[in-house]
Symmetry: C2
Subunit: 178 residues, 2 copies
């Protein structure tokens, strides 16, 4: 009965949800676990998010900004003279290099969209955003293919435990660019 009328309550719940998914996976996400992590009562999470899907969508939306921010921070895809394949390969390398919690989170939510229609639009947005960014430097068809290949490469790294090989990525990405 202490922290009443918290203006950031909603945001804090979303942040907590991201931490929970990062720590325990999507399966560990529940109104209760989020409430505990956010240090708010159970009723508060159910008030702001009637269903778990709603909470997931909000969390996924926020988490998905991770890669986008990396792109901006790196200033990738900006210089029209640079090697697109090399830039993308480097970008993914940096993304995978640090704390992989964010990466795993993105893909977990991404793949969860397979079974949860509510997440589908968010996943589609993520695809589209990436393709759009790449399309600044290539034609749209190539951009979509590059996005698909990047996804595939990331998944292979995450799932098979194989090391990310930036050389290899740059090479095969370059092949897709006509």
């Amino acid at each position: 009965m202490v922290r009443r009328y918290d203006p950031d309550r909603r945001r804090r719940i979303i942040d907590a949800a991201i931490r929970v998914v990062g720590a325990k996976g999507l399966g560990g996400l529940s109104h209760r676990s989020v409430a505990a992590e956010a240090d708010v009562p159970l009723g508060s999470t159910t008030y702001h998010f009637k269903t778990l899907d709603e909470l997931m969508v909000a969390a996924l939306r926020q988490a998905n900004e991770g890669f986008a921010k990396l792109v901006v921070a790196r200033g990738a895809l900006e210089d029209p003279g640079s090697d697109v394949a090399a830039e993308l390969a480097g970008l993914v390398g940096e993304w995978l290099a640090g704390d992989r919690t964010g990466v795993e989170l993105e893909y977990e939510l991404y793949l969860a969209a397979l079974r949860r229609p509510a997440l589908r639009p968010v996943a589609a947005e993520w695809c589209q955003d990436l393709a759009d960014r790449i399309a600044l430097r290539t034609d749209p068809v190539t951009a979509r293919a590059l996005a698909a290949l990047l996804d595939g490469i990331c998944l292979q790294v995450l799932l098979t435990g194989v090391e990310y090989d930036e050389e290899y990525a740059r090479d095969v990405l370059a092949r897709v660019i006509p």
Copy 2:
């Protein structure tokens, strides 16, 4: 107390598990749901599979043969003179065309493997198998890239709801082949 000494008990439980995952997703898999689907008592599933992970591994291993069987049935990748890109694009088209239960199942495995180390080897096997098959017709590096691109394309189709475009797939796959 009727069906005692069922020699196929284990197999029937696995089959039931596959049906359950196909119908309700991995999240719907539980000892109880499988027991109900297989029409066996709860104790029987827990006896044959101490943990859910064990059951998942068995079920997914069996389910993963789906794509491989399709490859064999189609006789794909056999004729050394054929167009590899076209064959792969057609294969995926056929895979995605019919009942998508098997397809979703495969990708659900990916999702689960992200968080469950027990499933990682199974996912890795699937990746490796596909790459090996393709490597019959290309060098290993290209094969791995093709497998990644196929994954990415499938995911885009499954997640964004966009129609599978075999022409497009054939085109971009061909670009990867040197």
